[in-house]
Amino acid sequence: MPIHDDDLQFEQELRRFTPREVAPLPARRSVPRWWPAVIAAGLLLVFGSGLLWRQHRGDEHVPFSKKTTFSTLTLGQSQAALLKGPSLDAAIDELERESRLKDKKPVQGSQTAFKVLGRDEL
């Protein structure tokens, strides 16, 4: 298809329409609205995984016996506390106090309630 003079003239007519002025280029890119949410989610993820990691590491280093407190309570002790104490609450308080004292120095050679229950003698 050859270009006719008519085409060139029509092209010139069209060029009389000049594109509108545009706003100047903004100085800075506007921050997208979802950006703070992404930052918050990222921080949560970092803190959450850090917390989980610490917990996990802590579990690995603490021996099982140290994590449990019931190992220092024997059946005899609980029975004695119940007989001795004026009420159930008092017996529990007494057992708790004894348990705290025992936690400070390791118990040696005593039978734990856990072991006794495990023997099927009841």
Binding site: M1, I3, D6, D7, F10, E11, E13, L14, R15, R16, F17, T18, P19, R20, E21, V22, A23, L25, P26, R29
Partner: protein, 166 residues
């Protein structure tokens, strides 16, 4: 000379091409405001993440705006319609017959009525002053194809606009 486009160069490119690029994007999106946003995004991206000097910066800019407009259309998930109230061209001269408000609206409608590729070619050639070689780079088509589609576009535009004049 720096290997990447400096901010000054980007701003110079903006001053030279922004107006025609906005018409080009408007002709894809049907909306001049969105078109301006798209053009701003493209230039701001060039400032934020400088690219090495393109072989042809005009072709690069038109390709970038075209891709950004296409992404916008895809993400909005709506059919594109012409925003009638927004002008694409200035209306300043009443003496030239066509150059008036009605003429501007007719021109917009006539452009909008063209097949998409012909519309883009017409705008790039008439208002962007791109050669057919550069247009062929932007659209990834043969130079002769670009030239022939332009002529079809021009013929159709003339037909539509003269019909409106009658």
């Amino acid at each position: 000379m720096s290997t990447t486009l400096e901010r000054d160069e980007v701003e110079q490119l903006y001053r030279t091409h922004a107006k025609a690029l906005v018409v080009f994007a408007s002709a894809m999106l049907g909306n001049q405001t969105k078109a301006q946003d798209i053009v701003h995004q493209v230039f701001l991206r060039l400032i934020d993440r400088p690219v090495s000097h393109p072989e042809n910066s005009t072709a690069y800019l038109y390709s970038a705006v075209r891709n950004a407009a296409r992404n916008e259309i895809r993400s909005s998930n709506r059919s594109v319609e012409l925003e009638e109230a927004q002008l694409w061209f200035t209306v300043e001269d009443d003496k030239h017959g066509m150059a008036d408000v009605i003429g501007e609206r007719s021109l917009r409608r006539a452009l909008w009525g063209l097949p998409e590729e012909q519309r883009q070619i017409a705008i790039m050639h008439i208002w962007g002053e791109l050669t057919f070689a550069v247009i062929s780079q932007v659209l990834g088509i043969n130079v002769n194809t670009a030239a022939s589609r332009y002529r079809y576009a021009l013929a159709q535009l003339r037909e539509i606009m003269q019909a409106k004049k009658v």
